[in-house]
Assembly symmetry: D3
Homo-oligomer: 220 residues x 6
């Protein structure tokens, strides 16, 4: 399941762009030296990285929809990446585990937060391969798409303008996507329809939700 969320205010987007405009970017190969598919730039200034990742991560985590959907237990600090004309990120699979300073997280879900206007660049779509079908995302500034990390995906070449996004990886309390989506759907139905149920049936519904959480969720 794929979720598109409005996570950042215009002011926050503007702040991120400002940080991006004034801080150095380096070749994205720095964090994946052997990855020939990766041709982009990423933010490379400790202070700028900390400020922007707090802004971006904070926006994600305050989104109730995001929290309900992803059951996040850990979030890699979002990193701004930039694609200039000719740049792309060929089809690849995200690593299962990501080393952060002082921690390792499992990337169950990946997230791209779009930071400039889709009209400002050509190409640069995020394409996710589902066998013989394909999904394509090019969202408005401040919008994020959350997608399973275990798909083959790519950023198609930018042919004009500049693509500025932030990317992050989420470790979910429910690793298995089938289980996570099922519980998310059940929780949503219960939240939306619980008020229409008899108290007795709502209590039974909650029992089911709690049982599945016990059974499927990793302890935090």
């Amino acid at each position: 399941m794929y979720r598109i969320l409005q996570v950042m205010t215009d002011a926050e987007v503007a702040q991120c762009r400002q940080i991006a405009a004034s801080a150095p970017f380096v070749d994205g190969k720095i964090t994946n030296p052997h990855n020939t598919a990766k041709q982009n730039e990423q933010l490379h200034d400790r202070g700028a990285y900390e400020r922007s990742s707090q802004l971006l991560g904070g926006a994600l985590m305050r989104s109730e929809e995001f929290v309900n959907f992803a059951f996040p237990v850990a979030l890699a600090p979002p990193m701004m990446t930039r694609y200039k004309p000719g740049m792309k990120y060929g089809p690849h699979a995200d690593s299962a585990f990501i080393q952060l300073p002082g921690a390792t997280i499992r990337s169950d879900l990946s997230c791209t937060i779009f930071l400039n206007d889709p009209g400002d660049y050509e190409g640069g779509d995020l394409r996710i391969s589902l066998g013989d079908a394909e999904l394509s995302f090019k969202l408005k500034p401040g919008e994020a798409v959350v997608y399973p990390s275990d798909t083959l995906h790519q950023v198609v070449p930018v042919t004009r303008g500049e693509r500025l996004v932030a990317i992050t990886f989420i470790q979910s309390r429910i690793q298995d996507p089938f289980r996570r989506n099922l519980l998310y759907t059940l929780n949503e139905v219960a939240a939306l329809e619980g008020g229409n149920m008899s108290p007795e049936n709502f209590t039974r519904m909650q029992l089911v939700q709690n049982q599945l959480m016990r059974y499927w969720a990793e302890t935090p």
Copy 2:
């Protein structure tokens, strides 16, 4: 979970009693020769067994509540057993697999159908041990109790009169009791509250139910 169901009509109960009254019973050890805990009698006439087991099995399988609760995929032919004063069936665990002529079934659930009046005998309660707690069943004629086969249970000594019951074993499409009960509860809530939900949410609820069936149920 334990379910008490009214499964037989008075006429059917009367027929069973008539069969029991006119057919020979033998020592219950015949089917469990090494089981020292078992001290009862069981019906031992092919014709009488066939007639009574069809009556009893048919009554169970036509109970919608039973089918919804047990997800039955196979049923051992119910067998009438009789306890006279002094007889009992000490604490025991039901076998996981039961050899029938031409088939083997897994006993996930056990079922006792009571055939005479609780006032007609003293003792003879079905006692199920749950660690330091205990459940006790002594039901009306035509009522059945369905309980997990993997508990320690016993029939306490009959001290007066005669206890006539039929027992059977059920293989469920959902072996795991946790999963079976959870899906039963969810199905019940959906059946009772589906009409109050928006069509969209009811469809999502059905998706969840179908996903769990695919994931948990053995193919028939």
Copy 3:
């Protein structure tokens, strides 16, 4: 994962259309009486159904790509369905288990085989909902799309012409989609690259493939 396969020859497509043209169709509610979302027609003549389902099922099962992808263990006889202007099949979830005469199958994968030209009708796309994203299929005659049965999907209203397709449901030897897709991918890589590997490494690769089959596949 979604797979688009060319499964039928032009001659076979023509035969199916001929059968459809000369046999009676009835309201699709006949097989799903309580489903208000379903507004289409389905073939309702025993002889025509048998001839067409053999043609369609045979075409699917002779496709090596289909067999490699789906690990099919049972196939519901494909049924031709027809959508005239105004008809549609609203968002729904396919049943987990489907009763056929003499058998029950689990629907792990669903398949739509397109039988007339996409230019012959407007609307009638198969839309599969993936949360906030959506896939849409409208294929050439003789092409089939195979998709997981546990998604919410719909056929959008036909506004002109006639949509003629056949639908079927597949029980896979590997119920879990994650495992099925993983093994399919591994088998593909081994088939395509095995000749380039050292014999020793190819043998180790085969050991892994066989171990996963033992571990994940249901016995046929």
Copy 4:
């Protein structure tokens, strides 16, 4: 499985009662504001809470029987709750995860420690629903009942006197109750009968116990 344990000395019970007598209680809704079923009072003084929970938690954890049965890995600080005439806690399901200051625990098992004499109040039984059967507990001061958190349970209305208990939630190293109970039983049999076995068979038995621990227990 349900376990009844004598966990507190008379002196400890007296201390708890003294704390309860001299510290303020507040409406139990404070920790479950949306729970209409809950009508009781709970201790609401930081110092009193700390003293009593150390006393109560310490008593539980020093019980070898408790440790063997529950495989506890975390324990919520037990909280004293009080039911005056008219108070009750209607049927409810315990939350799967409980937020504590600085930690979150999964509630696999629930525990009620009784603190005053059953003769001192009427009603106030702990009732656990097992479908159509029911268990009821009203124990002596210092006794505790440990029961699965994933049952529907209630405290029936107190009609006279005062019910004083402490409740807590236990995260077990073995989440699945089937596995936990099985391993508990196997460990008990090995402890009681190991001395009668040949050294070789006892070693094999230990191998089985260790394998199941590796396989089923969460790492601490």
Copy 5:
């Protein structure tokens, strides 16, 4: 786990040898045409195959030790194979599923029954690779070794005389080797020590054995 069993009488071994001596053998590649590792001969006469496989399969299935160890649910008809000087079967992995006329079985365990004297040939050891360690088997006539099918194994070149064995594949009711071995060990301990236990503890032990069978064994 590896089991060595005396399964055939001298008379049965003699009968097998006689059949082998008078029936045609063909190149073993006939059943594995693409397998370059396989250089041996196998029996290729329908009548001789039927007679010998009944003799060999019957001997295995009457061995109580074999049945207790393997939990067999299906057995491929054992086939006699012959290695003359220079012949061998290089390292390979047995197929997960084996097509038989009218059935497919999963090969969980493989079995080699030795039919001539180890002194009659040089080389021809069955070598099983366990990473950097290795097991080697060259047994007496009538003895069988049962080993997991999911290991890399080989028959080293015969350098003198003739190696005559029969091979077969077993589908177990418990696919997972960890679980199968654990339950086998527990059953053995219970069988050997049950008589020394108190009846109560023996009943609890049986409950555990039955629970694991329900949980782990495939229905026959």
Copy 6:
């Protein structure tokens, strides 16, 4: 699977021997008081233990082969043990969980590092029982054998000289040996053959490896 690794340099072996020669050893029963099978000596000096365990543990963890094979997440500090003539460690099963100061680890793999020359002592082989087969290890100084902790194993009596080894226990990120070995093999094949694959197929292979890591590995 069993792995033999050259992990220590001659200099490191010499250092360990020196520590052993100058520090006190005590009866091995000190850490397993009830274990009658254990008759050996173990190092019992805090400083000597710290120095030697850092040397030994560091050597193991710098071995890429060890890390690839064991997926280690925690390592008990290796402890030197000594067997003089007449000493042995009878057949035993390693504990599933091992209490260390400040931590508990699960012993998935056991490891013996040999520290003196096999010619310097008679007997003292590490024997691992695999049912009716047996593996025996007596390695060169600096070599280690890594084996599953859930086997019955023993050290046969030393009859001459002195056996000096270090032993340790490893908690793996992948508890299940079947899964650990499968992923190890797949990773090895990918590492050795990846360069010969098309980039597209290598990417698909990596997707499979990452999916299995997500699915099977415990989060660190």
